[in-house]
Amino acid sequence: MELKNIVIIGATSSIAQHCARHWLAKPCCVLLVGRSEERLARVADDLRVRSPQSEISFATLDFLDPLAVESLVRNAVTPSSIDLALIAHGDLPDQEQVQRDLAGCRDALALNAISPALFAEALVCKMEQTGGGQLVVIGSVAGDRGRKSNYIYGSAKALLDRYVQGLQHRFSGSAITVTLVKPGPTSTPMTAHLGDAGPGLAPVESVAQCIVQGVGKGKLVIYAPGKWALIMMVIRHLPRFIFNKLDI
């Protein structure tokens, strides 16, 4: 039997790693993409033990280099087809710091918005040539409404929202599905410094499970955990004169 082909960009992300553990419960052929060989090797070893029949390889590149992204997707990715691709990388900058440091601000916008869009564009191009596939992009609830405590990160995630919307429009009725995932605050290395927010953070296992379930059903938008769909609907609809008084 042909193994399912999976590509994971930002494969060292804790959320991605936990999704991969679910997907690899059945043997798959997986390409893990990241920036650090050492960290990718750790993830690859873990997946090899958990799923000995899977074929697991990894590749590194500069996440902002369009040529590198293009050639990775064209060459390194399995020749046949991509059944499932997850774009998971991201970085939550210190908002106050990137307000003052414009280079940092640019880097945060680039990593969280431009880089995932470059990967997505290259991946759907490949999927178009090979007859379809499922693309999953991790956005964030932070992209649903701008707020003072994280709008630089949030606006980058908001770009992904519109970007994925565009892809969904472009591929409607085709064999390509594109899904946007919006996790709520989750306990991962990205949020490790938010110590005192600890109890409000969802366990990464349950966020991953929610994502995997939604992807399995072919959902177009996945809030993870699901309760965030309701919370964000309320937040999106709060009149501005109330919202702007909130200290969030």
Partner: protein, 432 residues
């Protein structure tokens, strides 16, 4: 600051929590936040994993497998991996943990740090007996690799060392082969302690697993149900998937109390007695009977509960256990989860390991404040007089004297302490 509790839920205390996610840079994290203590799944009952007002290093993020050789059964992984993850991965491949405690929701690091035991102590010893190597990261940046033949004194200090010698980042252990997930189980009712000891002694030769539930509230008798089991050559038995059972909230008072306990214990005894005999069971309900009820510890209400687990040397086993049980029976408080079992004739390798030859009794008492503490201190006197010891993983209130008399290995232990590590228990029982 984040509130953390342990399994006994005697309280919750503010901690400066750091999630450990990678081995790389671990020493720096420890140095930056020391003094602290490693916190695995918090399945210890007392204060061994707590450091109120100070740092707690949560190890669950160190959850990668590193290598597994299905030919030899040797497994290497990070210390935050759960025993449950190991069993789920390896049992279908014909391997299993050689020693496992009564819950599989504990981390590998926690299992090493308390040198946990299972129902097969007489056959397999304790967790430490199956380790090949540990990696220990200290708050001064030192990284020590140790094992039975490598830095053996560091190894002996760390196995059962209650997290006080450093943070264990990775573990290599040898699994044992199994034909499948099934056990052949026999349950035998007993009417008194003589019968219990006879069953226990007779069963040690032919049965790998032995344990018993004892009705510590029956007024006159010392009745109970003895369970013994071996791995089965049959491979078909279904895991009882009693999914979804959960104690949804903490009731305002303990549901385990003097009105509920006596009838409950009697019911349990008669039910199990009527079903005594041989059966084939999946390993999960046999090893982990309580794991199917999520958050069962909430049943004890907002004040939580104490566990009390002692081991008494072989010479004192009958009189000592009898004395403890009569003391409890008089106290009008008592325990549903009362477990009585014998340990085999072997010393553990850890300086502060709990298991040793003799008989061990584990009980839980709803926390009723001073009454419960007074009862436990009466029990402490019996244990001390019998030359026994208490299990630190379950303890929240033993005296320093009892700890010192129970654990002669304590004298050599100080040299291996990490000065950047301190827990509520270490301050209570070791002075720092």
């Amino acid at each position: 600051m984040v509130a953390l509790a342990s399994w006994g839920r005697l309280g919750s205390w503010q901690h400066e929590v750091t999630q450990l996610h990678r081995e790389k840079g671990l020493a720096q994290v420890l140095a930056d936040s020391a003094p602290g203590i490693a916190y695995g799944m918090g399945r210890s009952y007392g204060d061994v994993c707590l450091n109120p007002g100070g740092a707690a290093w949560k190890t669950r993020g160190l959850n990668c497998f590193i290598h597994f050789d299905p030919a030899s059964g040797v497994l290497e992984c990070e210390s935050g991996v759960l025993l449950q993850e190991i069993q789920a991965l390896t049992v279908p491949q014909g391997w299993m943990l050689p020693v496992t405690p009564g819950t599989q929701f504990v981390t590998l690091g926690g299992a090493v740090a308390n040198d946990v035991h299972g129902k097969n102590h007489h056959a397999m010893g304790s967790f430490g007996d199956h380790l090949q190597q540990l990696t220990l990261v200290r708050s001064d940046g030192q990284v020590i690799h140790c094992g039975p033949d490598l830095e053996p004194s560091w190894f002996a200090a760390t196995v059962g060392g209650m997290g006080l010698t450093g943070v264990i980042s990775r573990v290599t252990l040898a699994l044992r082969p199994v034909l499948g997930p099934c056990l052949d189980v026999e349950s035998v009712p007993y009417a008194n302690l003589d019968e219990f000891f006879e069953l226990a002694d007779d069963s040690e030769r032919d049965w790998e697993y032995t344990v018993s539930w004892i009705d510590c509230l029956a007024r006159k008798s010392r009745r109970g149900i003895f369970y013994r089991a071996n791995h089965s050559s049959e491979s078909s038995c279904v895991a009882r998937r009693r999914q979804g059972m959960r104690v949804p909230l903490t009731p305002p008072i303990s549901l385990v109390n003097r009105f509920s306990l006596r009838p409950f214990n009697a019911l349990y005894y008669h039910l199990k007695k009527s079903r005594a005999g041989l059966s084939r069971e999946h390993y999960q309900p046999f090893f982990y009977p309580l794991d199917s009820i999520t958050d069962w510890n909430r049943m004890y209400g907002p004040n939580g509960f104490y566990q009390y687990q002692c081991v008494l040397p072989p010479e004192q086993r009958k009189d000592g256990i009898e004395a403890i049980l009569s003391e409890i029976a008089c106290s009008n408080t008592g325990s549903f989860l009362a477990v009585l079992k014998t340990f085999g004739q072997r010393e553990a390798l850890g300086m502060l390991s709990f298991p040793c030859p003799g008989v061990t009794l584990a009980l839980d008492f709803p926390n009723r404040g001073a009454t419960t503490l007074a009862l436990m201190s009466r029990l402490d006197r019996i244990v001390a007089a019998a030359g026994g010891r208490l299990y630190a993983a379950k303890d929240a209130c033993m005296s320093r004297d009892l700890f010192t008399s129970g654990y002669p290995g304590i004298a050599g232990f100080a040299a291996f302490r990490d000065p950047g590590i301190s827990s509520a228990l270490s301050r209570r029982l070791l002075g720092s």
